[in-house]
Amino acid sequence: MKAQAREVILMPLIEAENLVKVFKVAKRKQGLTGAVINLFHPEYMIIRAVDGISFTIDKGEIVGFIGPNGAGKSTTIKMMCGILNPTSGWVKINGLSPQKNRKAVVSKLGVVFGQRTQLYWDLRLGESFELAKRIYKVDNEVYNMNLKAMDDILKIGELIDIPVRQLSLGQRMRGELAMAMIHSPSVLFLDEPSIGLDAEAKYAVREFIKSINEKMGTTVILTTHDLNEVEQLCRRLIVLNKGRIIEDASLSVITDKIISRRILIIDLDEDVNDIDHPAAQVVKKEGLRVWMQFQRSKITAAQLVSDLSRKLKIRDISIQEPDIEEVIREVYKGTAQ
């Protein structure tokens, strides 16, 4: 029993080892003369879209792949799905290679690409589900159970009879997410799922991801530019830039590592003119509220509060973590050096 349990934990769901993907892109020259020259003497650029990345993802994780445009996120996801062949290195899902055992791997994957739809445009939403049911050989019981689950989580029941072309973007996304879950995949890949969605729809997507992860144990891999989403959902972040993994840890770990700067917000009982501390500076003051910036590497928040409270009458404090956008920007910048 114990040995079995250990095995279940030991084998990660997704493994990638030294993945590399190289593209050959034709260089386009400027202007009319350039275009003529290009006709006879084309030049190529070698692009290392993915330059040796390795990681493992365990069952039940929610992992966010983030990085600036062109960092290699989509390319990596495509290699994991089996759509793209790595130039070198390998990736395995459940011990199987998506390139060599495409059908077996793919039958357990759910994929949603934000921009393109896989729904039948002119027919009601339900028809697309029926097709998915047959393609993935989902039996009736499981199908109905999943549909009900999707109704609970996404309220898909109210959309199921509407033709896809009449759905709003947010509704369509719900439809796509539901369709991706019809066959109870063990891994769900989401490529920019909240693009163009309003706040309410984004919230629905987030709740959906949390639900399927908690209730169905689905592992979720998400690429996104929406850092709010990242903050709320991803316990783990893989940050890519220029085809390499820059960071692979939880958000708090990354934040601590990158930006040690914090802001301490103090609400005073009594206004004071002169607030001075060797390890912190006042960056803003509004009435009785003071913002003080300090370095966590030089002094802890607790120590600072303790120091200040000796001189000042403090009514309330809070600590402002750096904005995640700032953190990520620093992460990206770090690699540009």
């Binding site: 386009r28 202007g31 009319l32 275009a35 003529v36 290009n38 006709l39 084309p42 072309r165 009449q166 759905l167 709003s168 973007l169 369509r172």
Partner: protein, 263 residues
């Protein structure tokens, strides 16, 4: 640079950039020219003339017909259809340029690009391979060029009208293809109407289509007398004016009725 001129220039560049496209067009034209030229050559067999046209003239006709279709590039219909399908037409109408003029500029750019890259090499190729193809005197060439411009005008306005019909039909479907098919047959591009019984020729004379291909080609191969040529050019101009007027009216109507499709 004037925005319309810029659009044309960009289109020329994009035509030149797709090397494989260029090659395929060239091969495509060559295939059609071969097929039609050999068809007529075989058909004539030993006969010198038929229906008042010599074998040599007919082969020139066929070859040139393929070239004309290669550089009568018209995309306005698809452009309009596309933009409507994607719900972008409202956005396009907000721009401070006349939308139709933009499409015209783009198509003209396409024509010039095609001329440089596809039509002229193809014609030189044809001259080399078919000893029967000839070049007429200067007057005819000038008349031919003028006639081609008018033909293009007729075809372009017709396409634009078809494209605009999307505003009322939502989905163009294959109306464009049907229209193209009809035009192709009735324009005399495959077989000029001289081979048909006279009652068919009479009917065709009243329709605009034969004036798109048969007229310029007839002038080129010397089948049409110069006097007749001028008359034909006049008819072409009239048809072009008629279609332009219809187009203008439709355009005004369409702008008033912007229907947005999709989400």
């Amino acid at each position: 640079m004037h925005p319309y001129g810029y659009i044309s220039k960009m289109k020329i560049i994009s035509v030149l950039t797709y090397r494989l496209d260029v090659l395929i067009s060239f091969v495509s034209n060559a295939v059609m020219m071969f097929a039609m030229a050999f068809l007529w050559k075989s058909a004539y067999g030993a006969a010198e003339t038929a229906a008042g046209v010599s074998s040599r003239q007919m082969i020139t006709y066929a070859v040139l017909s393929v070239l004309l279709s290669a550089f009568f590039q018209i995309n306005v219909e698809n452009n309009i259809n596309h933009k409507i399908q994607e719900g972008l037409i409202a956005v396009e109408l907000c721009k401070p340029v006349n939308l139709l003029m933009c499409y015209l500029a783009e198509d003209i750019g396409n024509v010039i690009g095609s001329l440089l890259v596809k039509a002229i090499p193809s014609y030189l190729f044809a001259l080399l391979l078919f000893r029967e193809v000839f070049t007429p005197d200067l007057t005819r060439i000038i008349l031919f060029v003028v006639s081609c411009i008018l033909s293009y005008g007729i075809l372009w306005t017709l396409s634009a009208i078809t494209g605009l019909s999307v505003f009322w039909f939502i989905n163009l479907g294959h109306l464009g293809t049907v229209k193209d098919g009809i035009v192709r047959i009735l324009s005399g591009s495959l077989v000029p109407f001289w081979f048909f019984p006279s009652y068919i020729q009479k009917v065709s004379g009243w329709l605009p289509f034969q004036y798109t291909y048969q007229t310029p080609l007839g002038i080129y191969i010397g089948q049409t007398a110069i006097k007749q040529a001028f008359r034909d050019l006049a008819v072409q101009a009239v048809w072009m004016l008629i279609f332009s007027a219809v187009l203008y009216k439709l355009w005004e109507k369409a702008k008033n009725k912007v229907v947005i499709q999709g989400g």
